[in-house]
């Protein structure tokens, strides 16, 4: 109990609150700016968090992750162009509402729905993560290996058009994670005599390169081919913004149901906010009452999409906190941030850093309140950011990526790695190999290797001994089942399983 109160007290310390506020503010701006999304924002912000205390850093990054989702709704409503893919479902009703002169009302609904989803998602995280971590303490290396393989298969299946290519990317990530000192014998592996590689390929450099820089290269490519940035978008005027208590009561059940959907989808590895928002919207539409105007300007539609989107973000942290497994790319970046500050998420997280985790929870709830405050005050001001052209945004983000990679280590090596992985990321994107699965494979690589090695020792390398581990066997069978299912039914387009 002492840890709980001490942790919550830490969360409301002025410096922590300041960084939460800063994160929320930056998150909103990034969410609204065209071409930027949550993973890019987190990748660019990681080096900035390097100089902060562990709690301030995590609070800052969590603030960005939360608010960028909420900010993405602004362009969806005003321009019919989601600032983030997660907000695509918001366009369906948000834009028609704006066209009818109710843009401000739609923005308000999106804000309140985002905050509601976020708070309920955070509460679900608080309730579920610690018990799951306690359960996971009894999980041995054989089961852990099986869990990681199942997660990787799920993520690979959902983050691209082909499961096989997704898995190839993930395993390639695992391969590159073996660069550096061997975990058992401490002998160098594939370091090519470079001292900088003894600790492995720098994670931050890879994250910034693969997510931030590659994304900007792709955006630049779009400008080269379309020159679409030359026209400044015309945004719909805010119009009527009055939201009556009756309307709030009308959307309340939708928000509660969508929060549950967001939490359920968010917890599963590989599924992300974009899937949550579409599932939630589809269910809301299917359960529509007489008089509801779905796809023609229905506030319930905006509420359904935004609530689920924002509930999925904290929920995706459940497997990260409890098992040390990032279920989404944002969770993977947060895992990197935890590790930079000497904290390893996983089953022992709450036992070893209980007070810190309560402080993180406290900071997340504070972030939810700041989201409401900043979003409400800046409702119209943020909308004006949609006018910022991409040929200003892209150069700034590219330089932030490169300078950020340099600031983190003060070494040109890290910057060179960043650029090299940006090029690799672009090539992977061109050939449809998922960068997200690669990154998650790279991050869980050392955990997977450790667990697999321990499992080999325990089983003596005999396959038949796996039969003594029914849970692991069930998970292996599930992984194979997922694999077969997705190979037999390839998708025509990726689901963008991240967020």
């Amino acid at each position: 109990m002492y840890e709980l109160w001490a942790g919550l007290a830490e969360a409301i310390a002025p410096d922590v609150m300041l960084f939460v506020l800063l994160g929320i503010f930056l998150g909103y701006i990034i969410g609204v700016l065209p071409g930027l999304n949550r993973p890019v924002a987190l990748a660019v912000a990681i080096p900035l968090s390097y100089y902060m205390s562990p709690l301030s850093a995590i609070a800052f990054l969590v603030g960005i992750a939360k608010a960028s989702g909420a900010g993405g709704a602004t362009t969806a409503i005003l321009l019919n162009t989601p600032g983030e893919i997660n907000a695509a479902a918001t366009c369906l009703d948000g834009y028609p509402l704006a066209r009818e002169g109710h843009a401000k009302k739609a923005l308000k609904v999106a804000l309140y729905a985002s905050v509601t989803g976020d708070i309920l998602g955070t509460l679900a995280l608080i309730v579920l993560a610690q018990p799951l971590a306690s359960l996971a303490l009894g999980v041995g290396p054989v089961e852990m290996t099986a869990i990681m393989l199942l997660s990787l298969t799920f993520i690979a299946a959902l983050s691209g058009r082909s499961l096989l290519r997704g898995l190839a990317a993930g395993v390639f990530g695992v391969f590159l994670s073996t660069v550096g000192l061997d975990i058992e014998t401490a002998t160098p592996r594939m370091t090519f005599g470079q001292v900088e590689l003894l600790d492995g390929i720098p994670l931050i450099a890879i994250t910034i390169g693969m997510l931030g820089l590659t994304e900007m290269f792709i955006q630049a490519q779009e400008i080269f081919t379309q020159r679409r940035e030359q026209t400044v978008p015309t945004i719909t005027p805010p119009g009527d913004g009055k939201l009556t208590p009756k309307e709030i009561l009308r959307i309340a059940p939708t928000m509660v149901r969508s929060s549950a959907i967001g939490v359920g989808v968010g917890i599963l590895p590989g599924l992300g906010p974009s899937i949550a928002s579409f599932v939630s919207y589809a269910i809301a539409e299917r359960t529509a009452k007489l008089g509801d105007r779905f796809r023609r300007g229905e506030i319930k539609g905006v509420a359904a999409a935004e609530t689920a989107d924002n509930a999925a973000v904290p929920a995706s942290l459940v497997p990260l906190f409890a098992l040390g497994l990032p279920g989404s790319v944002s969770a993977a970046i947060l895992l990197a941030a935890f590790m930079i500050h000497g904290i390893t998420p996983g089953p022992r997280l709450f036992a070893e850093h209980g007070q810190f985790m309560y402080a993180v929870y406290g900071a997340m709830l504070v972030a939810s309140l700041f989201m409401l405050l900043v979003g409400r005050v800046g409702l119209v001001a943020f909308a004006n950011l949609t006018r910022v052209p991409q040929h200003i945004v892209i150069p700034i983000v590219i330089l932030l990526c490169i300078v950020g990679a340099y600031v983190e280590s003060r070494s040109l090596f890290a910057v060179q790695v960043t650029v090299a992985f940006a090029v690799l990321g672009y090539v992977m994107e061109k050939f449809d190999y998922s960068r997200i699965t690669f990154l998650i494979g790279f991050i869980i690589g050392p955990l997977l290797e450790t667990a697999a090695r321990q499992a080999l020792v325990i089983t003596g390398g005999q396959f038949s001994k796996l039969l003594h581990y029914p849970v692991a066997m069930a998970l292996f069978v599930m992984a194979i089942g997922v694999g077969i299912y997705f190979i037999r039914s390839p998708r025509s387009s990726p689901v963008d399983a991240e967020g």
């Binding site: 082909s162 190839a168 073996t178 058992e184 002998t187 592996r189 590219i398």
Partner: protein
């Protein structure tokens, strides 16, 4: 006619893609890993996991290529083009070079306006204001 050409051309691209990946995988397994890893005779050989990972990655990529050929698709043509990559990575390399030899301020001061010009910005006041802001932020970050 165009469709026919694409039908013939795309599988060839897939075959080339698979051949490159398999060749790279074999090169890593046969040359790089043996040369760059050394065991001390204790526990699992340090080269085991990277070797398995490299083989599995190459196998999966090859299997994907084979499945696409058998199913005659999907041959998705990526909108991404190499010239854009060359331009953007070239500017990034220039940024790194200037960062190493002239520091962050010079690096930002040169490449920020260059990138804006490349991306189509022609309003000098905007270029100047953005560059100045960028240099100030870089100064703040490094000071």
């Amino acid at each position: 006619m165009k469709e026919q050409l694409e039908r013939h051309g795309r599988p060839l691209k897939v075959v080339l893609e698979v051949m490159c990946i398999v060749a790279l995988g074999l090169f890593v397994v046969l040359f790089i890993i043996p040369r760059e890893t050394s065991g001390i005779g204790l526990g699992l050989n340090p080269s085991t996991v990277p070797t398995i990972a490299a083989l599995v990655a190459a196998f999966l990529a090859a299997a994907d290529g084979a499945s696409r050929l058998i199913r005659s698709g999907p041959f998705v043509s990526s909108p991404l083009r190499m010239p854009a990559l060359l331009i953007m990575s070239g500017v990034s390399v220039l940024t790194v070079f200037l960062l190493g030899y002239g520091g962050a301020l010079l690096s930002v001061g040169v490449t920020l306006p260059l990138l804006m010009l490349i991306l189509g910005e022609r309003r000098w006041l905007r270029v100047l204001a953005t560059t100045l802001s960028g240099v100030l932020v870089a100064y703040w970050m490094f000071a």
